[in-house]
Symmetry: C2
Subunit: 281 residues, 2 copies
């Protein structure tokens, strides 16, 4: 498995593969890989001739007081895990390779990015859509893989790809969870043992909401309040948002009908965790 730092080098390797008629599967990440990322790589391995992983902690998607500097990084560990999952190439560019001096261009997806994490993290999705556009143009994948854990991100990328006529398939894979239900996240390493012990409340409260809906609850406010009460009972948890939205425009809804996304962000100390479930009625 090769690790490549220059755009021009990667481009040439991918062009050569294309000339041999190979298909390209692409998994964009910020590294510090966990089972969620690996599930994307394994699926990419099964569906494509060439599997490319990018590892780039993208400064553009972090707010000024967020964890860009602290974000965990471990290329050696990531390389071993990626190779085992069937990755052929890691693209690991420097920040100045991606954003050279004079950089001026940004991609925005409107409406879908106004709520949920977009409201708590202004500029975050602009950073995501910009870097992903660049990566797509460099890697030119046939298929690209994202995790359902970042539900809003997956929908935003899907919309961007459709709107800008990007010729690729966006595949979204289920959230991978720890044994106690905590969604896998590179940020879980930030948690103290006490916080880690408390964190499964996120998924538990989502499952309880799903149960209420199954029993007939259709009021989004009631579902939201139930989750808020549940999580507020945990003294280490501080709610950022709990949202019940439609699944195309990601706007808050009043009544739950057809499909809805229940998504939340909760802080444990400095650590902000997200989780979500889709419900169908």
């Amino acid at each position: 498995m090769q690790t490549i730092r220059e755009i021009a080098t990667l481009r040439q390797i991918i062009k050569d593969a294309r000339h041999r008629g190979q298909t390209v599967g692409f998994v964009p990440t910020m590294g510090f890989l966990h089972e969620g990322h690996l599930s994307l790589l394994r699926r990419a391995r099964a569906e494509n001739d060439l599997v490319v992983l990018s590892i780039f902690v993208n400064p553009l998607q972090f707010g000024i007081n967020e964890d860009y500097n602290e974000y965990p990084r471990d290329l050696e560990r990531d390389s071993a895990l990626a190779e085992e999952a069937g990755c052929d190439l890691i693209f690991y560019p420097a920040v100045k390779e991606m954003y050279p001096r004079g950089y001026a261009t940004f991609v925005d997806v409107e409406r879908l990015t106004s709520g949920l994490c977009g409201a708590s993290r202004p500029g975050h999705f602009r950073g995501v859509t910009t870097v992903v556009t660049k990566l797509f143009n460099i890697v030119t994948p046939d298929r690209t893989y994202f995790g359902q854990k970042d539900a809003q991100q997956a929908l935003v990328i899907r919309r961007m790809a459709a709107d800008l006529n990007m010729d690729l398939e966006v595949i979204v894979m289920p959230t991978v969870r720890e044994h106690d239900g905590l969604a896998m996240s590179s940020r879980n390493v930030y948690l103290s043992p006490e916080q880690r012990k408390a964190a499964p409340i996120l998924y538990q409260s989502l499952l309880q909401a799903k149960e209420s809906i199954k029993k007939g609850e259709r009021s989004a406010a009631a579902v939201r309040n139930q989750i808020i009460q549940n999580i507020s009972a945990e003294p280490l948890a501080s709610i950022d948002y709990v949202s019940v939205t439609d699944t195309t425009e990601l706007q808050e809804i009043d009544r739950i009908q057809n499909q809805a996304l229940i998504a939340l962000a909760v802080r444990f100390g400095q650590t902000r965790l997200i989780d979500n479930i889709l419900v169908e009625v």
Copy 2:
């Protein structure tokens, strides 16, 4: 020569051409072709196997009180001219093919779009960069051709392509002019005979500015004032802007050194004309 209205159809034709090893040259326009456009097509013909012209009056790049509805359209005439210039395919999409319901994604180039036409036409370049990104993703050209008449547009597209790692070459061709120096433009048809007679003052004033610089003038303010005085002497002309800028960031400069862009926009009645020259000292 084929005229294609659907994205999927065009994509398939281009993929087939690529599988045969053909290169693709692309000229994006709003139609109502003149010699300027045709010079781009001829150059594309000389350099590529497949020459694609798009004709799309892009609503996104027109302001609310601008000439979107009045913009001249004549597909039959354009088809004949394009074929003669060596065009293989015209892409002529409907607005709803390009911007279906729920459209949400936009591309912005910052800084370079803040002055000149960007200042007088807010949102204009966002419209241009968004539609051009879409067209590039549909046509996947090896080479794309723009005219120097729209100097800011050409620089913005070049910057966007570099920033977003679009794998194509942006070729900018000289402004084509009428015998009396008026820059060719689809909007020239709006001019009354009197306005048409007065319009060459734009290029004349640019040439006089160039002459002053040749004689040693280095003050941008002096050059600007000379042009303003010149054009103000024409009662039918109303200046929108006269700018002297650097040629990478398009910011107003004080002293003329190395290369500078002298660009202007002037109204004759409702018709807004632009022109520019590059000077080197």
